[in-house]
């Protein structure tokens, strides 16, 4: 059994986790794979993290509900280790002055006090870190440097936070003889939290594993994001400490230098991913408004996990590889790693989510309204999954609470999955990539999507995937296939969902 611990550090890290979670739902990392997810962010209210949390929550519910189906959809286990705010573990204070108790520092060790003043401007010392490390790696680094002491004390007293629960789980895996354990970090190295957090946390983890003689059995990899977006100066009132695009290159250089010189033994593999065309996001310093659309760079970051499993066990090798796009004007399927598999699984997932959100979920709602028997006259597939006589024939009643709830769970997942993939497909400058999806109202992601709200029916799938050579017929044909082909005998929403997923995969 493969076990992946995906740790997203900072806003970009949490966005990468959206990719990881979505890919895992489709079985991209293998059927017998468990994915554990931990979000690390000092900014608990960060919009990016919130969106990832919603997706994670909805995806876990989908996994719990649909895991026993006949396809790889939602088959693998998904564990949430929660959100961990390292700042909260370090101190109750929310600025550097408070965290390091500057008056005491100046009084007890004047030299350190002066060094503190030399390294950090007065504005940086009092900047509110409740919204993250403000795109300043030096601020993040000094806070994260205190973590080592705090975390190391943790396990003896039981797992208190997400990090410690995750570490305890790694120990359990290794104790159970699982030798395919990967810890994969995600985050940017040109901002604040990721740039400071990933090297520190990886080193901390590597040291802990080494101390316990377990390091050789765990891969520690990282997908590090190089600059791929930019923004204007945020409107933060009087605040003068904020992330600035002009520092990104410098931050990146410093982080790479640190990784080269100081991170020996911390990482087994590092994947550096960036884009020379900077996507322009609206500028906010942390908080719920910092909710940037998903970007294809984050998909690449998520796809790197599978590469981390290849040649598992070859510790000590030093090898450099690269992947680049074939054209700077656009991205095509062949530009993705494992292009055939990625195309097949992503296409299948997108068609499935689209078919469910814009058709099957609405059909099941209609069946409830029209009555099963009447509805089935116009839906040949229906009788194979639902009872026409109120559940008397051994099949579930479409109006039962369980079936209605299952439909809702899958509709929620479909919506959030499509929001993510729609953002990915429009993240390239000037041209759509990989998928052609209708614009979904991403603003509702911060609130809650209402699966009962009216939405249009769609039934054509052949326009969804760009560059698909074999045009797919419409959902009407798929529905007839559901009625005509011998698929799994599973009934209800679960059986319908898995058989639909199977058919959409087979039609590629």
């Amino acid at each position: 059994m493969k076990k992946i611990y995906a740790i997203g550090v900072g806003g970009s890290g949490s966005k990468c986790l959206e990719s990881v979670i979505s890919l895992h739902s489709l079985g991209f990392y293998g059927q017998d794979t468990v994915l554990g997810v931990l979000l690390v962010d000092a900014d608990a209210s960060n919009g990016n993290s919130q969106r990832t949390n919603i997706l994670l929550d909805r995806t876990i519910k989908a996994h719990d509900t649909f895991k026993n189906g006949s396809t790889q959809l939602f088959k693998s286990e998904l564990i949430n280790y929660g959100n961990w705010n390292p700042l909260a573990d370090v101190s109750n204070a929310t600025n550097l002055e408070g965290i390091f108790n500057k008056p005491a520092l100046q009084y007890q060790t004047p030299a350190l006090g002066k060094l503190f003043d030399a390294l950090y401007s007065p504005e940086e010392q009092v900047a509110d870190l409740g919204v993250g490390f403000r795109g300043r790696p030096p601020i993040g680094s000094i806070v994260m440097s205190r973590l080592e002491l705090e975390i190391a004390r943790g396990p003896g007293g039981g797992a208190r936070n997400g990090w410690q629960r995750l570490y305890a789980s790694i120990q359990d895996d290794l104790g159970a003889g699982n030798n395919q354990v990967i810890v994969h970090f995600f985050g940017s190295i040109f901002g604040g939290t990721g740039a400071s957090g990933i090297p520190t946390l990886a080193k901390l983890l590597a040291n802990q594993l080494t101390d316990q003689g377990l390091r050789a059995n765990v891969r520690i990899n990282a997908s590090l994001l190089l600059p791929y977006f930019g923004f204007e100066k945020p409107d933060d009132g009087n605040q003068t400490v904020y992330a600035e695009t002009r520092f990104f290159a410098l931050n990146t250089q410093a982080a790479l230098q640190y990784l080269t010189e100081q991170a020996h033994g911390s990482f087994d593999r590092i994947y550096l991913i960036g884009d020379h065309d900077k996507k322009q996001y609206r500028s906010f310093t942390g908080g719920t408004n910092q909710r940037n659309d998903a970007h294809f760079v984050e998909l690449y970051a998520g796809l790197a996990i599978n590469h981390g499993f290849q040649n598992f066990g070859n510790h000590g090798e030093s090898k450099g590889s690269y992947i680049s796009r074939t054209s700077s004007e656009r991205l095509i399927w062949d530009d993705l790693p494992d292009a055939d598999q990625t195309w097949q699984q992503l296409s299948q997932g997108v068609k499935f989510a689209y078919a469910w959100l814009y058709n099957f979920s609405l059909e099941l709602q209609d069946a409830k309204t029209l009555g099963s028997s009447n509805f089935a006259k116009g839906a040949p597939w229906f009788q194979y999954y639902f009872s026409l006589r109120g559940g008397e024939d051994g099949k579930p009643d479409v109006s039962s609470n369980d079936e209605v709830e299952r439909n809702k769970i899958l509709t929620f997942w479909s919506y959030y999955f499509l929001v993510w993939i729609e953002q990915i497909s429009t993240s390239h400058r000037g041209v759509g990539i990989w998928f052609r999806l209708p614009k979904l109202d991403a603003t509702t992601v911060s609130r809650e999507f209402n699966p009962d709200a009216p939405r249009p029916y769609h039934e054509r799938l052949d326009e969804l995937v760009i560059d698909e050579n074999r045009p797919l017929d419409c959902l009407d044909s798929i529905k007839n296939d559901l009625a005509d082909q011998k698929l799994s005998n599973q009934c209800g929403v679960i059986g319908l969902a898995h058989n639909l997923f199977q058919l959409l995969g087979g039609s590629n």
């Binding site: 058709n359 609405l362 069946a367 006259k377 116009g378 009788q383 044909s477």
Partner: protein
């Protein structure tokens, strides 16, 4: 396999309709069975004109509407069951219009050829009117219920039961 069975049984029902309309029904109205109480010297003329034309119209109307329905079924694509159910109205329209044409043709032809006011022919007219309705069942309802393709397959009344018999 289901699709093959469906076309096979369409062929079977079409054959059955031909046998029923052009062999069985004339046999019922022939002298051999002697089911008709009325006897007239004009019977042979009546059979050659009214009966055969009437049966031909019964068959033609039902077959035409069946073909139109089957072609609709092959080409029809709907995004939802609700939209498919709208087609049910078309099926009933075909069934009613087919029956109406059969009966109208029978009455009009009988009137034109002056059989309608001749005593002794009411019994024959009633038989033919009965066949005009039965023929719609045999040549329209049965094939469409058994072999409507794809999404519209369960729209004809009783189709679910009939198809379940042969596993279609």
């Amino acid at each position: 396999m289901k699709v093959f069975k469906q076309w096979f049984f369409l062929f079977v029902t079409a054959l059955f309709a031909i046998i029923w309309i052009f062999l069985f029904q004339p046999y019922v109205l022939s002298d051999e069975l002697n089911l008709l109480s009325a006897k007239t010297s004009l019977l042979d003329e009546w059979r050659d004109t009214i009966m055969w034309y009437s049966l031909l119209i019964n068959y033609s109307m039902s077959t035409i509407f069946t073909l139109i329905w089957i072609i609709q079924g092959v080409n029809f694509k709907a995004e939802s069951s609700r939209k498919t159910l709208v087609k049910l109205k078309l099926w009933w329209f075909f069934a009613i219009i087919s029956t109406s044409i059969n009966l109208s043709f029978l009455l009009i032809l009988s009137y034109i050829l002056r059989f309608i006011d001749q005593t002794g022919f009411y019994e024959f007219l009633l038989w033919l009117a009965f066949f005009a309705i039965v023929d719609v069942l045999v040549a329209f309802w049965l094939p469409t219920a058994i072999a409507t393709p794809r999404t519209m397959r369960y729209l004809p009344p009783g189709s679910r039961l009939l198809r379940s018999i042969y596993g279609g």
